[in-house]
């Protein structure tokens, strides 16, 4: 796949933003609120936060919103009229400043949402999103993208990947998809031919901490291991890790009625909650927190690779950052690699 590489001057980034804005595109970019950086609809280039390692939440919210209407119904005298979501209403969105680990997460989501049955709502949202990725020049002890098959400069999932050449240098723009070239066409003046540029030297240093194939093999016969109990003693069973994760796609379907009409809504859910698998009879196949923590790891590092040939983890480390009790997934994966034989 030959990626055409362009050079974008440092100060023409703002011009690119304005051109996109003029073309009435909705732009979501990282902005700070309550001391946390999240993707917020932004109108001005100056509103974008730049010195951060990672947003608190992944960009999953844009293609798989936390709450999403899937149908409307109205009861009338002679029956019921039910209307599905009008896929054309889904807005065009530019996702500005997506880290490679988020962009890579989209592959995990797409694998689930297109396993046999095609989820048109998700596919339509994704088709209307243009992902402008920004490589990482900094990382911290939570990041392990290189162990999860990605990297600070990985271009999977991005339509254009910008890599800043040096602290305030110009940007190397790798255009990867038609959506990417559409943006280049829109602002062709800003994209200059780029010579041979070695971007690796400007990327963050992320050491490889484990081998995911090895972990996958070890997980196959570790279902009864004591490790799950030991690791999950301090887990409190909240949903923070699942909701900040770029590849967690589990959802719940709820109905909301207001008088004669109402909606059916799809909203995020987490395997960390005991309600997730509770039967009406009271029986719960996953009663203990250790069983639920095991499900989280097994799904991402064993079931998804087996069934969908894609790992359910991009190594962003968000779940460890967001966890109230410091359940560090990297630490647990390393101990699985060392302890389970």
């Amino acid at each position: 796949m030959n990626i055409d590489k362009w050079l974008v001057r440092k100060d023409s980034l703002e011009k690119l933003f304005d051109i996109l804005k003029q073309n009435s595109k909705t732009i979501y970019a990282p902005a700070t609120k309550n001391g946390k950086v999240s993707f917020i609809e932004t109108d001005s280039f100056s509103g974008i936060t730049t010195d951060y390692i990672q947003t608190t939440q992944s960009s999953k919210e844009i293609v798989f919103p936390r709450t999403e209407k899937i149908l409307d119904y109205t009861k009338n005298r002679d029956g019921m009229s039910v209307k599905g979501i009008d896929l054309k209403d889904i807005p065009e969105i530019i996702l500005w400043g997506v880290r490679p680990c988020d962009a890579m997460g989209i592959d995990g989501l797409s694998a689930i949402f297109n396993w046999d049955y095609k989820d048109e709502i998700y596919n339509n949202r994704l088709s209307r999103v243009t992902v402008l990725g920004f490589s990482c020049s900094k990382s911290d002890e939570y990041c392990f993208c290189t162990s999860a098959g990605g990297g600070p400069g990985n271009n999977a999932g991005s339509d254009i990947l910008f890599t800043q050449l040096g602290t305030d240098g110009d940007y190397l723009a790798e255009v990867l998809t038609e959506k990417g070239s559409a943006v280049v066409l829109l602002a062709s003046g800003l994209f200059e031919k780029a010579g041979e540029i070695k971007k690796e030297q400007f990327l963050a240093e992320v050491p490889v901490r484990f081998n995911k194939e090895e972990i996958r093999k070890k997980l196959e016969n570790s279902f009864e291991s004591e490790l799950w109990i030991e690791h999950s003693l301090r887990c409190l069973g909240c949903g923070a890790c699942a909701y900040v994760c770029p590849t967690c796609a589990c959802f719940d379907i709820q109905d909301e009625a207001h008088g004669k009409a109402g909606t059916r809504v799809r909203c995020w859910d987490s395997c960390g909650f005991s309600l997730f698998t509770l039967h009406t009879s009271g029986h719960n196949p996953r009663e203990l927190q250790s069983q639920r923590w095991r499900q989280r790891i097994m799904h991402k590092f064993s079931y998804m690779p087996d069934r969908l040939s894609v790992y359910g983890c991009t190594g962003c480390g968000r779940c460890s950052r967001a966890c109230p009790v410091d359940m560090n997934i990297l630490e647990h994966l390393i101990s699985i690699q060392e302890v389970i034989v």
Partner: protein
């Protein structure tokens, strides 16, 4: 099926039959004619039945695929949706999404004896297979049905049990748990596993299909193995909490198998491979 996976068919409730305390059977017809003609399913598949404004609930399609023009479902009133469902009368509109899941491999059973073992409210998934087999009766040799419930009143499809009893080409054994019998009860008395042991159907060239509460299944499998049934000839269905029904919402998995996609029908040999998580 429109491109929106989550959009149910609109179904009208044609007939409501009261089966047992808290258990009802709905006969459902598609409101939209083409959906009716285009709709096909196989024995063992399930669907999501929705009451708008309340939610969706998962149970099998209880009518046989050989009977066209309608589908039936039987449910017990336990949760939020089933309570709302049992409040619906004939003529009201509900939603149905499906068919989902895999099927009983009836075609492979041609020329074999069939042993159906059901407990309590688990007769519906079996009834679908039984009628499917009975509608092609000569494909199969001996058909034995062992069906038990807690009390006489809890037996579902009472009228059909009578039909099956009168038929000469089926052996029907109904039982009730000890203490559940009524004075004029002529059937067996005892738990289903003990009755299976007593009847001791031969395992030569035969398939066993077992559905029922987990405790009944747990005690019936060893009996069948003792009678010589091979693990791959014993079929059962698994029940897990479900929301989507097509492998997306991520909650019905047992190990790496999804009950909504790889099930609900499993053989005992498959069950033995599954981790203890159901």
């Amino acid at each position: 099926m429109t491109d929106n996976l989550y959009m149910p068919y609109l179904m009208k409730i044609e007939k409501v039959t009261y089966e047992a305390p808290g258990v009802k059977t709905f006969m459902l017809k598609f409101i939209n004619e083409e959906d009716q003609n285009r709709f096909t399913f196989k024995a063992g598949q399930f669907g999501e039945y929705s009451v708008y404004g309340v939610g969706e609930s998962t149970f099998c399609i209880a009518s046989s695929p050989t009977r066209k023009g309608y589908i039936e479902c039987t449910f017990r009133q336990t949760g939020k949706v089933t309570n709302a469902l049992s409040g619906c009368e004939e003529g009201s509109i509900i939603g149905f999404r499906g068919p989902y899941g895999n099927t009983f491999p009836i075609d492979e059973w041609k020329g074999k004896n069939l042993l159906f073992i059901a407990g309590g409210i688990a007769l519906p998934p079996m009834r679908c297979v039984i009628w499917n087999a009975l509608d092609q009766r000569d494909n199969f040799k001996e058909i034995t049905i062992i069906y038990g419930a807690r009390t006489v009143n809890d037996l579902v499809y009472k009228h059909e049990l009578l039909d099956w009893e009168r038929r000469k080409d089926i052996k029907l054994v109904t039982t009730v748990d000890p203490g559940g019998e009524s004075p004029d009860w002529k059937g067996e008395i005892g738990f289903v596993p003990t009755i299976v042991e007593k009847i001791a159907p031969s395992s030569k060239n035969s398939i066993a299909i077992v559905c029922g509460p987990p405790v009944m299944i747990k005690y019936t499998f060893p009996v069948l193995t003792k009678l010589g049934f091979q693990d791959e000839n014993i079929y059962t269905t698994l029940e897990n909490r479900m929301k989507c029904g097509f492998g997306k919402c991520g909650r019905c998995n047992v190990g790496k198998y999804y009950v909504c996609k790889d099930g609900p029908v499993f053989t005992l040999s498959q069950l033995k491979e599954l981790p203890d998580e159901y």
